[in-house]
Symmetry: C2
């Protein structure tokens, strides 16, 4: 079906037969790799880095060589969308994102534009085109975006937060304008993902990092509704939806027009198969397990593989890699998955 | 059964009949009340504050008058336990707890003592005795402690964290000493809760704030096991266990020797009743809902009350109050609960 040499991830995403379980890792590119840290020294500012396509290509390809994963994922950041809508942000080292002027009023929302990826996000699509050229059809390339609710949370909170109570206050106090903002983010995100696909992305993933702080009724109304719109609009390539901690929404997520659902490490695998019987599942190794000995890593990895079974599974972590995890252990984890023989 | 005039919380905890649903609120004492903020100006340092029994009594009693809740909870901090074991901490305003010397080696664990509450935690038990005198049997007084895993998480991480990956690394890399530390914390906590009960606490609550970051198997092994030990040891008064985000452990929690299980706002009420059929449930109003209009608060509160039903429910939030929630809205929420008539 595809001209990509190793298309295991794409076949697994479609629920087709695979010779072995494919694997890639959230945050596979980045701080766990010494070669990335060396590269970053040339670009001390993260945002300058992600706006330099040649540097992005290098970071995107590093884990292919270093870890032997079955897919590349474009190195970028979910908050490029608010910026493309007119809300600038800074990435503060060791602290995270910060919006000097966060969304505080209805007028702030009215003043936001719909992102025009062909203008303001060209640096991403250029990096995708260049990466595709470098990959030369050896592996699929994954594009991504944040889920509208997660983007909304950062835009209204203005930074990371333990509670995101300022963001959540909007939903209770001003649902009308919350929906207006979510609509604008959704429209922007669809345009953005479509531009990534035109540039060559073979699969796209939607990250709903702050899914788990919403009560179930709010999650349906203010998050899943918009994820569903994105899934309905993207028909060109398979879509993965990863909503961290949204255990309560799994049955509803089974109805999304997407091919893959990501699980975090708290979600029981068998229970998730029952709740989401029709889709491929991705995940869900605890990233902290990679701090353990190789013996423990092997045992736990094989347990995970058996629980998911051979088909309809893309091996991954239940969250991104933490920066202090040793690359050698990560490579070992990847190898265990790739060498595992199902009976 | 009790000489306390308003013993609704205690009767509900025991599953006995009540005339109406009782209510108290996590973090009901503290920054939401202007009278508390005024009081704190005299004690800019939080730790000096909680070590001054007369000031603690005042903070503990303020919400009784201001909000009309059905129970007082002693104003204190879960991290007094590590300190009583020999690990000092600082409370940094707007940032949270910080341990200048966190637990990093086996020797650090060997060097910790078992807390002796009659020496190092007298300031808490004295505050409890004084509060009891002031309450004069009008309302029950709740004592509390952190769950061993949550205390362990702070002691090994050294501060709050988004991932607690340093704390969780211990469980994978050094389970033997992790258990040693958890054992010491558990023994200390049992002694501490018993001293609170001797001083007059009528019910005790165990807070497992960081329950939800452990995979289910780790949660059983490194958290629930120790909570069970505490529940087995405390036979004098009812116990409430609140394990935030540990949705996956609800069926197992039904087996604890405790009377009440707290729910956060993501946990479905009907599903939780099915998983924990034998116990009283506490919770689970979304604290962010208190930012909404009174109309919305009333509607949502009544929906919650109907979902729990009249018996075996102690109304509360699904997490602590946030400092910027208006006291007037909180009082309104309490009143809606107290005035609700079940058909």
């Amino acid at each position: 079906m595809s001209t990509i040499k190793n298309d295991l991830v794409l076949r697994a995403a479609q629920g087709l037969e695979v010779e072995r379980t494919p694997i890639w890792l959230m945050r596979q590119a980045g701080r766990i790799l010494p070669e990335y840290r060396a590269l970053r020294e040339k670009f001390p500012d993260f945002k300058t880095y992600i706006k330099t396509p040649e540097a992005v290509v290098e970071a995107t390809l590093q884990p292919i060589k270093a870890l032997g994963v079955d897919a590349a994922i474009i190195f970028s950041d979910i908050l490029v969308i608010p910026e493309a809508m007119g809300l600038n942000y800074e990435m503060i080292e060791k602290k995270g994102p910060f919006f000097p002027k966060k969304i505080q009023t209805n007028a702030d929302i009215d003043n936001l534009s719909i992102a025009n990826p062909d203008e303001s996000l060209l640096y991403v699509t250029q990096a995708i085109s260049l990466t595709k050229k470098e990959l030369n059809n050896s592996l699929p390339l994954i594009g991504f975006a944040g889920a509208p609710w997660t983007i909304f949370a950062y835009m209204t909170e203005g930074s990371g937060s333990k509670t995101f109570s300022t963001a959540r206050k909007w939903l209770y106090c001003n649902p009308e304008y919350s929906h207006k903002l979510l609509d604008k983010i959704t429209t922007s995100t669809i345009l953005y993902l479509k531009s990534q696909i035109r540039a060559g992305a073979d699969l796209v993933q939607i990250f709903d990092s702050w899914a788990g702080i919403l009560p179930p009724s709010h999650y349906s109304e203010f998050s899943l509704k918009y994820i569903a719109k994105i899934c309905d609009a993207i028909t060109e390539v398979p879509i993965t939806v990863f909503a961290k901690d949204a255990y309560f929404a799994r049955a509803e997520m089974a109805k999304l027009n997407c091919q893959v659902i990501g699980l975090d490490w708290c979600m029981d695998i068998a229970e998730s198969r029952t709740l989401i019987p029709n889709k491929t599942l991705q995940g869900n190794f605890d990233p902290c397990n990679l701090y353990a000995s190789k013996e423990v890593i092997k045992k736990e990895t094989e347990k995970m593989l058996e629980s998911f079974g051979k088909s309809k599974h893309i091996a991954n972590l239940g969250h991104g890699l933490y920066p202090d995890i040793e690359a050698d252990k990560v490579k070992y984890f990847v190898d265990v998955v790739k060498n595992y023989q199902f009976n």
